[in-house]
């Protein structure tokens, strides 16, 4: 796989641990004793701050466990934290998703650092921000407060923050790290936290030096070091507010609620994408549409330096949104991607050139809109035609493939692949993939995309 692949598709690890992977850990290697003389005074105060934060936050931490109801054993674990004396607690949606979607197969329990255990009630979820509010029975419970600075706006970049949780079921821990502000080019707001947060810490709090919550641990990048993400505290505070003021979601209505939130989210995101419009970029004699929206990471590819020298030249670009929505273990949704490949050859004849284009990954994936789970998604249906948009644009071979989410009404994944048909040994292949979109929005976006392919004059 070429190195660009990992750059184009950042591998995000959500930080709930499934049973299998938790048991796969290796035996810890005993750390060598540190040199005693080296402890400077500065380090001592930092360490003291972490000790203080941990000591004050620890009683409010929770380990949130999803158990297979029939076996009574945990199948996945995450973390959470109490935000009210009445037992309200915040965690990630993906920590409770198994229980939320299959409440008869799984049950949800908590474990406190002092050993207390019990059942959890699911009160509210927020798919777009990967949050959930749960409640445990109790009064006068210790709890954490949100940091007003984080609720108002931003913490200064570089401020020290402490992520807490129960990584890999090893026990409650605290991790020091650095607040690095909101991730650029992300439609869903996420804070870039430089620190080692690990599977099992999902849903745990990140707090400032005074022990107030600034964010919720959610994910890390697998292709970097210490690149982790937090959900901003104000999203959690808003969901807690909603859970307090409204009735609990009711476990039977979770799917409808997810459906409603997905529809609302896609209306916001794809509506904004449509509103931002498209600019055109020249690829040889063609103009290709690229979104004006700021939420895409773009990478260029070429085969120019390949050896032996390829008999057709391919120059391409791929732009994709950096984040996706977690819906269930086996569906990620809400990502968008568009890519172009400009291909030309003076050596191949027209049949060979057509074969070459057919073998390009961008064309081979024409019928593919993402990983497929029979249980979650219908089989794709495709419409494949020759299309002539206008006298100012080349004829196109257009392939539209769409599939529906079985559990959620009016949510679809759609891929539109276009191949120009005006020259024998020169072509532009363009592709748009949108996941978790309402059909009308997909049609509108697809149409704009198709009409964006034109001749450069």
């Amino acid at each position: 796989m070429d190195p660009a692949f990992t750059r184009r598709w950042p591998a995000l690890l959500l930080l709930a641990t499934l049973a299998g992977s938790a048991s796969a850990q290796t035996e810890p290697v005993p750390a060598r004793p540190a040199a005693p003389a080296a402890s400077a005074a500065g380090e001592a105060t930092v360490s003291a701050a972490a000790e203080r934060v941990y000591a004050s936050a620890r009683p409010s931490l929770l380990q949130i466990r999803t158990l297979v109801a029939a076996a009574g054993r945990q199948s996945s674990i995450g973390s959470g934290f109490l935000v009210g004396a009445d037992g309200l607690a915040v965690t990630n949606y993906h920590v409770v998703s198994q229980f939320a979607l299959e409440p008869t197969t799984y049950r949800l329990e908590f474990k406190r650092p002092d050993g207390g255990e019990g059942a959890l009630e699911l009160l509210a979820i927020d798919i777009a921000n990967d949050l959930a509010v749960v409640r445990l029975d109790g009064t006068d419970l210790p709890h954490l407060a949100f940091d007003p600075r984080a609720l108002e706006g931003e913490l200064p970049r570089g401020e020290r923050a402490y992520a807490m949780g129960n990584p890999l079921d090893l026990g409650f821990t605290i991790v020091e790290g650095t607040w690095n502000g909101l991730v650029e080019r992300s439609y869903n707001e996420r804070v870039h936290f430089t620190g080692a947060i690990n599977p099992g810490m999902s849903g745990g709090p990140a707090v400032d030096a005074s022990g107030r919550v600034v964010g919720v641990n959610v994910a890390k990048r697998l292709d970097g070091e210490l690149v982790s993400f937090l959900v901003p505290a104000r999203k959690a505070a808003a969901l807690v507010e909603r859970a307090r003021s409204g009735p609990p979601i009711g476990i039977a209505a979770v799917r409808d609620e997810i459906d409603r939130q997905l529809l609302e989210w896609q209306a916001g995101f794809y509506g904004a994408l449509i509103a931002k419009g498209w600019r055109t970029t020249a690829f040889g004699p063609y103009l290709a549409p690229e979104s004006e929206a700021p939420w895409f990471n773009c990478w260029a590819q070429t085969n120019a330096e390949k050896s032996p020298k390829p008999r057709a030249q391919v120059d391409g670009s791929t732009c994709s949104t950096p984040s996706a929505l977690f819906v269930a273990e086996d569906i990620q949704s809400g990502s968008a991607q568009f890519s172009h490949a400009y291909v030309r050859s003076s050596e191949l004849d027209s049949f060979q050139f057509a074969t070459f284009v057919s073998l390009l990954p961008i064309y081979r994936s024409a019928g593919f809109t993402g990983a497929w789970q029979r249980k979650r998604l219908t089989r794709p249906e495709c419409e494949e035609r020759f299309v002539a948009a206008s006298p100012a644009s080349p004829a196109l071979h257009a392939i539209w493939c769409a599939r529906a989410y079985r559990d959620f009404a009016d949510i679809y994944d759609v891929a539109l692949t276009l191949v120009t048909q005006d020259r024998d040994r020169e072509a532009l292949v363009s592709r748009l993939v949108v996941q978790g979109i309402a059909y009308d929005n997909a049609l509108t976006l697809g149409r704009r995309f198709l009409e964006g392919v034109a001749w450069a004059k």
Partner: protein, 325 residues
């Protein structure tokens, strides 16, 4: 009496063991050496039967007291004596015995096949190799290497020769003649038909923007194979053509049915979309170009199909795919 009579003995596998003109009025048959005709068959008694001619010239067979007795081919039950008419064949042990009369009608003379199948066969073989090389050329997107074309052509010629040799062997066993040239002609014609059919399907699917053709086109391959096998069987022998056609047709139908189920199952399991796998040069386009309006109307009409599929239970056992990872 000038009537001519022949006795014919056919061994178990229907090759002629003996043909002899009969001049006596009575003959004995059996395994012992004092018979008029000795039958070399362990299921025949030492003295198995006698056949006699009466004054009117009619022949009758009598059982001489054998263990396995006397039977008439095509009839059930053991017989003590059998009146021998033309087309009555006796079963003696595992041998067949019949009499022929001099005035019996024989099949008309078949003219010799002067035309050798070889020139046509060799031309077709050359065309097959040419078609394969062209197809390889069409898919050549890397550096063309001569050796790949040579090995490809040699491999194809070898497979064709082995296939033909197998049929020639069958032909020699059951038809008496190997007829290698005729089998080569059939085999080459079959392969040529298929190697034209397959790219043609691809090009038609592209030209008409009809990717679903690929869902059915493979059936043509089975039909071509069945037609080829039937032609081979006809070369082996021209008898029982109806039975051969039925058997080959049934096997082809079975193959097509099996493969459709396999494909349906694969589609259900992997969620593959039906799209064109291979493009062709734009000048081959035949289907009319749609306006974006018409194209997106078509795309919009898929929504109803998807919504219908959404409510259907996913086929198959999803429980079996549960994994703890």
């Amino acid at each position: 009496m000038g009537e001519v009579t022949w006795i014919e003995v056919v061994a178990r596998h229907r090759e002629h063991a003996l043909r002899q003109r009969v001049d006596a009025a009575s003959l004995t048959l059996g395994r012992a050496w004092d018979n008029d005709i000795v039958l070399d068959d362990p299921h025949v008694a030492a003295h198995h039967l006698r056949i006699e001619r009466d004054e009117a010239g009619a022949w009758t067979a009598h059982d001489l007291g054998s263990v396995n007795g006397l039977h008439v081919e095509g009839e059930r039950g053991r017989r003590e004596q059998v009146a021998l008419a033309p087309h009555v064949t006796l079963q003696v042990g595992q041998c067949l015995v019949r009499l022929h009369r001099g005035d019996e009608e024989v099949a008309p003379e078949v003219p010799l096949q002067r035309r050798s199948p070889w020139p046509a066969a060799l031309v077709l073989v050359a065309l097959v190799v040419l078609a394969a090389l062209l197809e390889q050329w069409r898919g050549e997107t890397g550096e063309p290497k001569l050796i790949r074309y040579v090995t490809g052509a040699l491999a194809l010629a070898t497979v064709l020769a082995l296939w033909t040799a197998a049929w020639a062997l069958v032909s020699r066993l059951f038809g008496g003649h190997a007829r290698f040239g005729a089998h080569l002609l059939v085999a080459a014609a079959g392969v040529l038909a298929y190697s034209l059919y397959d790219p043609l399907c691809e090009l038609v699917a592209f030209a008409l923007s009809w990717p679903r053709l690929a869902l059915y086109a493979w059936a043509g391959a089975w039909i071509a194979l069945a037609a080829t096998c039937f032609s081979h069987l006809r070369v082996v022998s021209a008898k029982r053509l109806r039975l051969k056609a039925i058997v080959v047709g049934a096997l082809a139908t079975l193959a097509i049915a099996t493969q459709s189920f396999t494909i349906a199952d694969r589609n259900a399991n992997w969620g593959q979309a039906v799209v064109l796998q291979r493009l062709a040069p734009p000048w081959l386009r035949l289907a009319t170009q749609r306006t974006p309006d018409a194209f997106f109307d078509g795309a919009a009409s898929l929504k109803a199909r998807l919504d219908e599929a959404r409510s259907e239970e996913p086929a198959g056992d999803d429980a079996a795919s549960m994994s703890l990872d």
